[in-house]
Symmetry: C2
Subunit: 404 residues, 2 copies
């Protein structure tokens, strides 16, 4: 099955999205959970703080004992104990008694307020309080942050530093997260060689090897890489071997639309080709299929076309497979130049932003890597537009917004 | 030396910045270079593409042979060879001859244009061309992307996928990058325990252990972690042991300003305390010093205060140490509520954005972790402002913009 008409980008998105499944979950130690995706709701095991604690350095007292007193007429107390953070007083505070207390320490039984050190004078056992404090002053209630059984985080959250803090404080040292998709990357092309300072004959450097390892890493998934010459048998063997141990395949090269091409033929033989050729520029020769229910993303051999295809179709799919809700974020900028486009085709124009303006790069050609290095964004021209005039607003996708 | 006046935030920034050094460079394989920082200019070893190549599937010919011909009167050629990508033709194309050629293959000697397959008819050895092509049509020049000795990337670049592609295509399989700072994290506090479902007495969970491992990871540096009780001897021993093998120390806890506190005392004894107490809320009890010329960031024990201190002072320092030029990015939003502040103090208000609006969170207290989890940004109130009125514009730092 080779589609002769180019498929609209949105239709391709819908087909891909409908085939994807999350890759299952695993229990990991909380220390390793940064940038992993929560696969369970977190309800706290504990109150936080776990006890009434002092919000200040000072003295725990009965507030009533200070009522009506002032600097001119200080209230008098006997200091019966001293506690720091991590210490419990075994004393019960009675009328006229005080416990010296550090910030964060538990309020001793019998006390109901803390007077700040700066409103007091003390001389070993004797304390004068020069102000009137109200009940609960400088006392942080137990569970002020969150209470036992509170829902503190929902499944699907991409875990940032502060999220680990709340999971830890809820009493957990392990956490259920989505597995990272294991991604097999097969670069194809008989002409491709690894980087070296001199090339012979028709050799071309396999830059996709590096690009797509990095794209998969940036998508929080785990890449493994192989390279194949343009031989259907070798590519087919490699597909079968990688499909055993991976959740996704990515290929580069061998996706020409005008004819059957190696990678598309192999996918067709082992499984099903669902997309071959999309109304996207650059990146028309994009293929997608499934083999053994696993998604196969067939990208162009040309570096820029392949990058655009992966920015449009691959990254968001890898997010979806690990439970991350990702929507590309557009910003609105004014274009400094007219841009031509065709109705019915979605264009991703490499561009450089400058404040509220955006400048489409002159460089054309789906092989021009420099254009990706010198740009910081795409101008997106949807299929219902016939280009954009100079000085008009347009949708811009910053490269930085492609990562979560 | 304990500073009695709170230091303005900008002054603290300047002091820290002036003490920091980059941590040296190392040569690594290009495959591992994603999100590393380039420590050399890259000049290409090669032309890219390395030869004149065909931009289309078609036939390499002499353009002159088609001049004046058309569909009604096609030009006739003899097909003398067929080459795919990766193949060189050893034939020289003469008048009336054609070489069948794939996209990306080198243009054979003698030919100066490629006619697209769709404008031709062929019958084994015979080719008809139904159009007139111009010299260089469908020929991508050698070095069209970049030329040998071109400067393709500058030192200091944080390497993204497309950067690896251009380094590879320039002929390099290794690259000189800045080392990642090795960061020793010492959490202090006798009351702190690792997460467990039930706490005893005055125990509190050490959430900073998780937060700062993740903050250091998010800053592209390498964390190692230990915990110490509030003992000057133990903290001092740990400082000395970690300083041997790390580039930076971070501590949490033991930074109280009203008195000498454990961590600050230790830094003072082993090196120099340069900052102790900043006009920042939350996060006043921030300390910074150097020991053996290595920076020591002394953060609060309270989770939120420590996070703010690290967002203000630590992350950017770790970037600077590995050669990343980082400036926090502000966005302008309209506040939905009046916010009070004091002249002379910089406030970082946890807030939640919603389109062009931003809502400061009600939750106060430097221990309230939930406020960091429920917010997505800080409203920044600089020291020269006495608060912000409802409905006015303010500077907002999105948490997402804290990472590069």
């Amino acid at each position: 099955m080779f589609l002769t008409n180019l498929m609209p980008v949105q239709e391709a998105h819908d087909i891909i999205k409908s085939t994807l499944k999350t890759v299952g979950t695993e229990n990991i130690v909380l220390e390793d959970a940064h940038m992993r995706v929560l696969a369970e709701d977190i309800r706290s095991n504990l109150n936080s703080p776990p006890f009434e604690r002092s919000a200040m350095d000072g003295y725990a007292i009965k507030a009533e004992d200070t009522f009506g007193f002032s600097e001119a007429n200080p209230a008098k107390f006997k200091i019966i104990d001293t506690i720091g953070a991590g210490q419990l007083s075994n004393k019960i505070v009675k009328t006229g008694q005080a416990v010296k207390i550090s910030t964060g320490a538990p309020i001793p039984e019998g006390a109901n307020a803390v007077v700040m050190e700066e409103y007091t004078n003390s001389d070993s056992e004797l304390l004068e309080v020069e102000t009137s404090v109200t009940p609960r002053e400088n006392v942080s209630p137990m569970g002020e942050d969150f209470k036992k059984d509170d829902l503190v985080l929902r499944s699907g959250r991409l875990l940032k530093p502060q999220d680990l803090a709340i999971i830890a404080s809820s009493g957990f040292n392990t956490v259920e997260v989505y597995k990272k998709p294991k991604v097999g990357i097969i670069t194809t092309g008989t002409e491709l060689v690894m980087p070296k300072p001199l090339l012979k004959g028709a050799e071309v450097i396999n830059s996709n090897h590096y690009t797509f390892k990095a794209v998969v890493e940036a998508s929080l998934a785990v890449p493994s890489l192989v390279h194949c010459i343009d031989s259907e048998k070798i590519v087919k063997d490699q597909f079968e071997s990688m499909l055993d141990s991976h959740d996704v395949l990515i290929t580069t090269g061998g996706t020409a639309i005008s004819k059957g091409d190696v990678v598309v033929d192999v996918t067709e033989k082992l499984g099903e080709v669902l997309i071959h050729g999309v109304a996207l520029r650059p990146g028309k020769p994009f293929g997608f299929g499934t083999v053994d229910d696993k998604p196969v993303f067939m990208l162009s051999g040309y570096p820029v076309a392949a990058m655009v295809q992966s920015d449009v179709f691959l990254r968001n799919s890898l997010y979806q497979m690990q439970g991350i809700e990702y929507q590309p974020q557009y910003v609105i900028k004014t274009t400094s130049k007219k841009i031509a486009s065709n109705l019915g085709r979605t264009d991703y124009i490499r561009a450089k932003t400058d404040g509220s303006m955006v400048r489409p790069l002159k460089i054309k050609g789906s092989g021009i890597i420099r254009s990706m290095v010198e740009s910081d964004s795409y101008i997106l021209i949807e299929e219902n537009l016939e280009g954009i005039n100079e000085g008009t607003k347009c949708n811009v996708i910053l490269y930085d917004s492609l990562t979560v």
